[in-house]
């Protein structure tokens, strides 16, 4: 793939499984994630890779508004309900993708949902998949699937049997042991783990006594979940020795470095975009670069899992 020279810094390049990214910042799924023109813009603005909105076999309307509530202090509660244009329509959206390292996030209820989707995307210019096993607020999808070990195994095997592109499994903190789910994913052939998704949470308006989200319960993202994400990345990467992509509350380059020290090969940005817009990618990337230079490190990958030593 062609690289934008301004963002070509070998010091920042990271390899995750068979992926090679010009820098470790990735757009998290569900943020700005349905328009190829936006993906192109993100790439111009310095993103290392992009994860699409989670795509299902059929288009999904998702929940009624309110679907996103700002809780202040860099955090959001959302129950979008996995609204997405569906695999057919979205594969047409990204058919024109040329240079953006694009990871397609997929969601479904059973293994049979995944094969038709992979078939629609695999021949396009995309660089991998992220299986969303951790959406905390849609029944029969995401987290409920992640809680079923046998299904996790079957889904991953199905995708891997068809595609040679790297497959990441996105896990979350919920009703099952996150390490156990990651272990199953690894055993089934996943190339990496993305941790973490949002955490089930809720907010009630005290004037009306009413839950604000139309779905009542949603997923918490942003600053509050960072230290939980750090812990999950640390435990998964240390115990399972599998590449991990860190996600959850990355707002600054310090957060990104902390995730990498914990064991992340790259980090995803989501909620920070609500505060700073997509400038966050280049700002965080250049912070990491300065840190690497100050520490005398030759490449960002030297950071990965440094904290495991202690």
């Amino acid at each position: 793939m062609k690289q934008n020279s301004k963002y070509n810094n070998d010091i920042l390049r990271v390899n995750i499984s068979s992926l090679s990214l010009r820098n470790p910042t990735i757009l998290a799924s569900g943020f700005l994630g349905i328009s190829q023109e936006l993906f192109n813009k993100l790439y111009r603005y310095g993103v290392g890779a992009v994860v699409s909105k989670s795509i299902s076999t059929q288009p999904m309307e998702g929940y009624k508004n309110p679907t996103v509530v700002s809780l202040g202090n860099g955090s959001y509660l959302n129950a979008v309900g996995l609204s997405n244009p569906g695999a057919e329509s979205f594969s047409k959206e990204v058919i024109s993708n040329k240079q953006v390292p694009l990871i397609i996030s997929l969601v479904g209820s059973t293994d049979s949902d995944f094969l038709p989707m992979v078939k629609k995307f695999d021949h396009l210019n995309i660089c991998g998949y992220e299986i969303n096993l951790s959406c905390p607020h849609v029944t029969q999808m995401g987290m409920e699937v992640g809680d079923d070990p046998e299904m996790v195994n079957r889904i991953i095997k199905t995708v891997k049997s068809y595609s040679r592109k790297p497959l990441f499994v996105k896990v979350g903190v919920g009703n099952s042991d996150i390490i156990a789910v990651a272990q199953i994913a690894k055993d089934a052939g996943a190339d990496g783990i993305t941790a973490i998704n949002t955490i089930r949470a809720m907010t009630i308006d005290i004037e009306t006594s009413m839950p604000i989200l139309s779905n009542r319960i949603g997923g918490l993202s942003g600053k509050p979940i960072k230290s939980i994400g750090i812990r999950c990345v640390y435990e998964i990467s240390k115990k399972l020795k599998i590449p991990v992509i860190g996600c959850g509350g990355v707002f600054t380059w310090e957060d990104a470095v902390e995730f990498m020290l914990a064991g992340a090969s790259a980090i995803q940005l989501g909620s920070v975009i609500g505060y700073e817009g997509i400038i966050a990618f280049s700002r965080i990337t250049s912070g990491i670069k300065k840190y690497l230079e100050r520490k005398g490190l030759k490449n960002a990958m030297e950071l990965i899992g440094l904290a495991h030593k202690y």
């Binding site: 569900g30 943020f31 700005l32 994630g33 349905i34 328009s35 023109e37 936006l38 192109n40 813009k41 909105k53 288009p59 999904m60 309307e61 998702g62 009624k64 508004n65 309110p66 679907t67 996103v68 509530v69 700002s70 202040g72 959001y76 959302n78 979008v80 609204s83 997405n84 244009p85 569906g86 329509s89 979205f90 959206e93 308006d205 004037e207 009306t208 009413m210 839950p211 604000i212 139309s214 989501g270 909620s271 975009i273 609500g274 817009g277």
Partner: protein, 277 residues
Amino acid sequence: MHINIDHIRIVNIDNIIEETPSIRTLIFRDKLSSNAHPGQFLMVWIPRVEELPLSVMISDKKMHAAITIRKGGFGSTALFNKKVGEIIGIRGPYGNHFTIIKNMKKALLIGGGTGLVPLMRLATKMNEFGINSTFVMGARSKTEVFFEKQANRFLKNTKHKVIVTTDDGSYGFKGSATDTLATIIKEEKFDRVYTCGPELMMKKVFALASEYSVSVEASLERYMKCGIGICGSCCVGEQLVCKEGTVFNEKDLRLMTEFGRIYRDKTGRKSHIVDYN
């Protein structure tokens, strides 16, 4: 205390104005909204029913603002049916806004339906800055005409014209608002055309203005979930209507291949914008 504009503020509906049988203006007290710029919008929470993006309408009452809602589907009808004394939640105001050019002399405002709302707020600015303006309001027929009187009142300190057009000719000029625009833009020189309304109307406005090399600002609508630039549902190509818009100028519009052509629904699927008349 600092107010976080993203937190829902519960407000009481103090007054309701019946604009047409299907359009009402709900007035509430809210300092932030009362200071909104023309073209900014609120995310309006109708508890346990919906949340809708709605332009900030002006209210004569100090520290008050308003929203003007057209009764349509589920959410808008629930809002339309709210009574005085009931409450709603609001967050915002969000988005950029219409801007005034330095040394501006003459402006043209053209809109239709609830697209008139941001133009009404803009009208008060025109009045304030002493800019003469022509305000073209399109409606289908007489019963759907609203805001005419208010527009005249808001513009009272300037040389102004309020022109109403109806498709069926039951009131004002017969024809569309853009028909009228086509006539007057030939005869008069405007510094800028401001428009909000059905996208195909705005597309024609943009085309006409471009033809006569007049600067344009158009306020777009797209399906909005977050209103704060994270979900991407409101995108027009690479632009986010909620954040980089809703107001775009001629330069933006020229680059927007989707303007007047493509609308994404709730799922994010694209469909072609068609004239719903």
